[in-house]
């Protein structure tokens, strides 16, 4: 690995100053489970590594049924699924965090790092998209909110300017009779990168068994994570039945532009997108029926 300088700011303000000072030559370090591998491979060669894990603001999980969730970008996955509120109100995002790599990886990897790495296959991203999460980005010029589905621009690329920092995710409080789910397909039972990942969040109208709102996010089936807009909208107001779910699955497939690689063929990925969209919606709906927000 080339020589680097390591800095460990304690506040967002300090961090942003450091990033601004070094510009292209700085890279934030969180869990390091992607960055350290890239540094070793020489894929990224920043002179300065800015460790943002020790910034308390980026390590908090703040939830209230009124205000929803503020999830620090640097919270490691293991702290997400150990959190009772997360398990209870955001099971889909929680299971995505629980699926990433191994326990060893989950001890380090963060949802923010997962997103900033810009991989189309990031497990937590479709779950965030499904929940309508927004990224709070802070830079020298101030801060802005970016919807997760607009965050990645190409493999390994995001909307972040060199001096900007993703500080936290803001996720709406779960609506009545709503829940979410995330499923991915991998050839083994652990350790793999998603061949396809599907996150879904649904809100139900239990009076006449309809879906009032749905959002579907897709991973590993295009150059960036995908918000399957048409598929999501197609479910709004529909009765819960196989026909509606099948239509959504077909529209989800239509939203993909997968490639052939060592993880699967494009043809296979399209097929699995359909399978997982059906399974994920069914799981989210089942959860929403008994959701803690139901009473």
């Amino acid at each position: 690995m080339h020589a680097i300088n390591y800095e460990s700011p304690r506040t967002v303000d300090e961090a942003v100053k450091l990033l601004a000072a070094h510009g292209e030559q700085a890279r934030p370090l969180c869990g390091g489970t992607d960055l350290i591998i890239q540094l070793r491979a020489g894929v990224r060669r920043p002179e300065h590594v800015v460790d943002v894990k020790n910034i308390q603001e980026m390590r908090r999980i703040e939830f209230s049924i009124q205000r929803g969730l503020r999830l620090g970008a640097a919270v490691p996955c293991i702290e997400i699924y150990e959190n009772g509120d997360m398990r209870k109100y955001y099971p889909g995002l929680t299971e995505a965090a629980h699926l990433i790599g191994s326990l060893q990886i989950q001890s380090r990897a963060s949802v923010g790092g997962n997103l900033c790495n810009g991989s189309p296959a990031a497990d937590t991203t479709p779950a965030l998209i499904a929940l309508g999460a927004k990224c709070r980005v802070v830079g020298p010029a101030g801060e802005r909110l970016v919807p997760v589905e607009d965050f990645c621009t190409a493999p390994g690329r995001t909307v972040l300017q060199p001096s900007e920092l993703l500080v936290e995710f803001q996720i709406p409080s779960p609506a009545r009779n709503s829940s979410d789910a995330y499923l991915r397909f991998i050839p083994r039972n652990e350790m793999d990168i998603a061949v396809v990942g599907v996150g879904a969040a649904v809100t139900l109208d239990l009076n006449d068994d309809r879906i009032s709102e749905a959002r579907i996010g897709l991973a590993a089936v295009g150059p960036t994570p995908i918000f399957a807009r048409e598929a999501s909208q197609s479910l709004a107001g529909k009765r819960i039945n196989d026909e509606a779910i099948e239509r959504a699955a077909q529209l989800a497939i239509a939203a993909t532009s997968p490639i052939d690689d060592m993880r699967g063929t494009a043809e296979f990925r399209r097929h699995i997108t359909g399978v997982l969209t059906r399974r994920t919606l069914a799981k989210a709906i089942e959860r929403a029926r008994i959701s803690p927000t139901s009473r």
Binding site: E190, D192, E267, F268, H271
Partner: protein, 765 residues
């Protein structure tokens, strides 16, 4: 005196003591190759070709050499040119000029990752940075990645000098060897068949996947002598090959075998060892090289991918009458795939009167293959054992009964001609047939059960052993066979059995090439068999000498002294029986210390057979296969330490399941390896496997004092076929390609359903 090989009356053999080296390995104290460091040690790194096939026009190293901290840069020009001919090296015949060209490319790179240059620097990071500064001018050539492409007329030629007997001395070719085995009359054979199944199979190149990357520390001294510390399966083969590649006298190199973190055949040759000495010679410092995982996958020796056409016929009552096989194996960049073994194992478990096997060793732009656990046999069994399962289905015969009906036994001719002596193939099938697993009922949709069998030769070769009896009556056992999976314990148990000592009173020690007689690799499942034989004889030699001492004390002739159950006795008055411990205390006054010695070039090696049953469940929507249950039965001759015998059976089964389902080298159209890491080279995790049940079958090897058979390899042979057969019975598709990964299996299932629907449509239903 140990009891006879019928397995009765052993005191130590067959028990499960804690391995002698265990405590070092659970406390982190055991020293593996990469754990060695020396004062002033430098770190070496290797520059590797980014192209699958290219001419090297020039290499500029001055910028790299100028980087602060860099002490030396070497290329193939720093190694002697060697004769282009086969030499014997331990258990393998090897071409030294090709071996050298694989360690540092000469003029041409032949695969993605082929070593081109090496540097030594004061830190591994500086060495890494230095690699980026070496300028290589490549002329990129078209890569040849498959045996089919390599065998096409006009295919790009990898090795300009390569010729074969069929095509003659004029013709440049990628086909290194054509082997043929013939028996009976193949046409007549198929005429007599009621059922014939013929299929073409493809199996992917796969890697042994040992967790410890290759490593070496070289220390060259001004007197022309060098020491190499490395993790290897054979310290003597490292010495002879490194000496040849470096142009040094063999005696000037001492190889100290470190603990080894897995090998499975992949550490029976050399990669970094001569470079560590070369760089040490240039710098005057010890130099350590370790491969990264990507280097291990790109540039060490995996095993061959293959194409196999298998046609077999049987009568309606299930008697095999004919088999015709065409097989071509990827050798990698240089000749030497295990296709010969594949040809001689593919129908080895069966008695087939009419047989024709054609086998081709083909060079392609992939890493030079190395041995991998029963090399060549798993590919072959994937073909023959699935075809046999199909024939059994056609005959309506239980797959175990079909194998028993046609199974090879004593006297059955092997593929290459010689008849079998006593073997336990049918015993393994019967063990599976009567196992709780096979007797259990498998219920549920998309679930199926499959059986497969496998054969492996095992080898004998040379081993040495020394037993030093100490004055306290304990013994140190010195051997040259590195311990890759618990063999120290087995060797100590054999010595303890013979000497009548407690197993913990024998301290096994694996030593370096200067401290023990020649010992071939820990490979070919030979260590318990051949080194165990040497240990047995060395212990007997110790007993013989002890009898002389007892005779002295008792004023008797040595032949009057008897030894049994750890006690020396003789007839007559004044003779008080003595134990080995008691006698050991009297050595000084009866002639001095005792060392028992023996060397063997072991004959009469007994082949091994295994039969495996697997239950699977297939996800019909995704093609993902779950292994529900697996049981393996293996003829081990005599289990010295049953826990480690079971471990070999379970480990081979796990590797075979990985080979069956997800492991494969994935090259792009430019011949670049796309999955050179353990994230995408998918070996089974412990969530992918069930507990693996074992049935130890003991049919002693005739002639061996303990009846031992090698146990290390054959268990990897049956699983791919067993899994394929289980999938066929679960979802009705016959898979003919490895790995049977979700995309492949899903495609096969969808096309079958598509076919069924179109048939239904055609039938107007």
């Amino acid at each position: 005196m140990a009891a006879s090989a019928d397995g009765q009356g052993y005191r130590v053999i067959g028990t499960r003591p804690i391995r002698h080296d265990g405590i070092d390995k659970v406390t982190g104290r055991a020293k593996y190759g990469a754990d060695y460091s020396f004062p002033g040690m430098l770190y070496g790194k290797v520059l590797r070709s980014p192209y699958a096939h290219a001419n090297i026009k020039s290499i500029k190293t001055d910028k790299a050499a100028a980087l602060p901290g860099v002490k030396a840069v070497v290329t193939a020009d720093d190694l002697p040119a060697l004769a282009d001919k086969m030499e014997q090296a331990g258990e393998q015949a090897i071409n030294l000029s090709q071996l050298s060209a694989n360690i540092l490319a000469r003029g041409k790179t032949l695969y993605d990752g082929h070593a081109v240059a090496a540097v030594a620097a004061t830190s591994p990071h500086i060495a890494d940075e230095a690699l980026r500064l070496i300028e290589v001018d490549y002329e990129v050539l078209p890569p040849v990645m498959s045996v089919e492409d390599a065998m096409k007329p006009g295919a790009p030629i990898l090795l300009p000098g390569l010729r074969n007997k069929d095509e003659g001395p004029e013709k440049q070719t990628n086909v290194a060897t054509h082997l043929q085995f013939k028996r009976g009359d193949i046409e007549e054979g198929f005429k007599a068949a009621d059922h014939v199944v013929e299929r073409e199979f493809k199996t992917a190149m796969v890697h042994q996947g040992y967790i410890e990357p290759h490593n070496a520390v070289g220390i060259y001294n001004a007197d022309g002598h060098a020491t190499i510390y490395c993790s290897t399966q054979g310290s003597f083969v490292v010495r002879s090959l490194s000496a040849a590649v470096l142009g040094m006298p063999e005696g000037n190199i001492k190889v100290v075998p470190a603990e080894i973190g897995g090998g499975f055949g992949g550490k029976t040759t050399i990669y970094l060892e001569p470079l560590s000495v070369l760089l040490s010679k240039k710098t005057g410092h010890p130099v350590k090289l370790t491969m990264t995982r990507a280097e291990v996958l790109r540039a060490s020796g995996p095993t061959s991918g293959s194409t196999i056409r298998c046609k077999m016929g049987c009568t309606k009552d299930g008697k095999l009458v004919a088999a015709q096989i065409w097989m071509a194996y990827e050798a990698g960049a240089f000749p030497g795939s295990p296709v010969g073994a594949g040809a001689m194992t593919i129908v080895a478990p069966y008695n087939i009167p009419n047989l024709l096997v054609d086998a081709y060793d083909v060079v392609v732009n992939r890493p030079k293959t190395a041995a991998y656990r029963a090399p060549g046999a798993s590919n072959a069994a994937m073909a023959s054992e699935t075809v046999i399962d199909e024939l059994a289905d056609k005959c309506g015969v239980d797959p175990c009964d079909f194998r028993i009906m046609n199974g090879a036994k004593e006297g059955t001719p092997q593929t290459a001609g010689p008849p079998y002596r006593r073997i336990g193939f049918i015993d393994t099938v019967e063990a599976i047939k009567s196992s709780p697993h096979y007797k259990s009922k498998l219920e549920g949709r998309n679930r199926g059960r499959g059986v497969g069998s496998g054969f492996w030769f095992n080898v004998g070769l040379q081993s040495s052993a020394i037993v030093n009896l100490h004055t306290d009556g304990t013994a140190s056992l010195v051997i040259g066979s590195v311990d890759i999976g618990g063999t120290r314990a087995a060797q100590a148990m054999i010595a303890a059995e013979v000497l009548g000592l407690d197993v913990n009173d024998v301290r096994p020690l694996v030593t370096d090439t200067d401290s023990i007689g020649h010992t071939d690799v820990t490979g070919g499942s030979r260590t318990a068999f051949a080194t165990g034989w040497a240990v047995y004889e060395a212990a007997q030699d110790t007993v013989r000498q002890l009898k002389e001492r007892a005779a002295k004390l008792w004023e008797k002739k040595p032949e009057e002294v008897a030894f049994s159950n750890g006690q020396f006795t003789a007839q007559g008055d004044g003779v008080k029986p003595m134990t080995v411990k008691e006698l050991a205390g009297r050595l000084a006054r009866t002639g001095g210390p005792i060392s028992g010695r023996a060397t063997v070039n072991a004959r009469g090696v007994g082949p091994a057979f295994a039969t495996t049953v697997v239950d699977v469940e297939v996800d019909p929507d995704t093609g993902k296969v779950e292994i529900l249950r697996a049981t393996v039965a293996q003829d081990v001759g005599k289990a010295i330490h049953p826990s480690y015998v079971e471990g070999q059976m379970q480990g081979g089964t796990a590797q075979g399941i990985g080979w069956a389902l997800n492991e494969e080298y994935f090259y792009d159209d430019k011949g670049i390896l796309r999955n050179s890491g353990l994230l995408d080279y998918r070996m089974p995790t412990c969530l992918d496997l069930p507990l693996i049940e074992t049935c130890i079958v003991e049919v002693p090897t005739p002639g061996h004092p303990l009846g031992i058979r090698g146990v290390g390899e054959v268990s990897i042979v049956p699983p791919p076929a067993a899994v394929a057969n289980a999938i066929a019975h679960a979802v009705g598709v016959r898979m003919t390609e490895l790995p049977m990964s979700p995309p492949r299996l899903l495609k096969a299932m969808l096309s079958r359903r598509g076919g069924a629907e179109s048939q239904a449509a055609a039938a107007g239903r």
